[in-house]
Symmetry: C2
Subunit: 284 residues, 2 copies
Amino acid sequence: MRIRLDIAYDGTHFRGWARQPGLRTVQETLEAAIGRVLGGETRLVVAGRTDAGVHATGQVAHVDLDDAQRARLLAGRSRGTAGEAADPVAALAARLTGVVGAYSDVVVTRSAAAAPGFDARFSAVWRRYEYRIADSVAGYDPLERHRTTSVRARLDAATMDAAARSLIGLHDFAAYCKPREEATTIRTLLEFDWHRDAHGVLVANVKADAFCHSMVRALVGACVAVGEGRLDLEDIVEIRDARERVPEVKVLAARGLTLTEVGYPADDLLDQRAEQTRARRALP
Amino acid sequence: MRIRLDIAYDGTHFRGWARQPGLRTVQETLEAAIGRVLGGETRLVVAGRTDAGVHATGQVAHVDLDDAQRARLLAGRSRGTAGEAADPVAALAARLTGVVGAYSDVVVTRSAAAAPGFDARFSAVWRRYEYRIADSVAGYDPLERHRTTSVRARLDAATMDAAARSLIGLHDFAAYCKPREEATTIRTLLEFDWHRDAHGVLVANVKADAFCHSMVRALVGACVAVGEGRLDLEDIVEIRDARERVPEVKVLAARGLTLTEVGYPADDLLDQRAEQTRARRALP
């Protein structure tokens, strides 16, 4: 029995998503919570393996329950919020929140039976991230400081937006990734744009089929270099096409980055999608 | 020379606005920062003396500088954000932020010369607060946990909104205040309503000429009692008009409360307003 979990976390005090011996991670915290509620051992599979300090409001994972866990799930009543759904699968989210606490830095916001063929990682069609930068004291909101990077230079939002849009498409993003052995750096960047919110904070919207390591933070770093006037608009496409990392492009701090949404195909297309994802990406 | 300061803070780790011996307060933290930048002793006068744990995005204070401080202010250059205004008064906000740190839990977002007759406390025409409640796990956002109260019961937002609106007007709010010797509890509640935001979080908008002690937290507590079905809609007006505190109305937690805005009259009406405020409020 496979369960889909929607998850939100403040990454500040986590060493990222993925289990690491002796370190506090989101995966380890949630697997322990599931163990407390349903017993046994579980292993979460996640859509986006976020780095240390990165946040999520729309993370998605799945977990496969064994028969004993399934029996406990169906027998259990919500010990969480009164008035939550009577469906025991839907009530799991509130039970897990009861274990970690309503004011915890990680919360399961929704639990549901996964559709046949659903895989949180391999079914995902796209991931969306947000990156927030305050570039004036007027935008320094202490209540948002956990998820906002502040910079001293005043940035040119219009130029940064143009720079972002110029990078969109199917490309080799090796210049904007930390390389990993044997892993392709070819990705389809679907959306990339900047705007200022009502408080003047610069917000990047970044959406791709998938991201390689540090890719969002390098892409926003490239735009900041343009916004500060250290790089020209054309430079960042040239850097991309040279496929080599350059020192002008800084990987920005994790604190500004939040995984906000993961896209999946309609239920009847799930199997097909997982096959496509497992095939290696290539440029045409 | 009088300076107006606009201030934002995460109240979680402060014992409120007002100085208290040996405790960390917003007033003490900012007065110390001003001392480090301009020397001397200063005393801030504030629009809303928030309690321990209460936040602000739109707090307003003023400070009167002596001649030595004024000379230091005008001589100083911004050591803060590059590209901030060259005006030394406007640059004070960035200099103070340089002292407390860009990721501090308190920030001065704006500094400006006060108009003649301006008094942060006595010129204020109204104060606006926001109160946030998550009543389902779907609304538990760890990135917003510092400023959101969570409750276990699912609340009826439409009834709470009706309850809130029924309290608006010039009334004696003794039933919804912690009494203080010799202080009137007559206030004009100008706006009070509830809505759910995009994430399903219940948000109260509360605006009054001024608030007595614990008034916002008691008013939202009364609405929650209605939203849970513990009180009827008519009860809360009856409670108000009986002018006696009742145990059914809980004073909700500080963490959900944020001072968002303070209203002032146009500059040429400032003197007149301060006089009106100093006169004792009375029911007609």
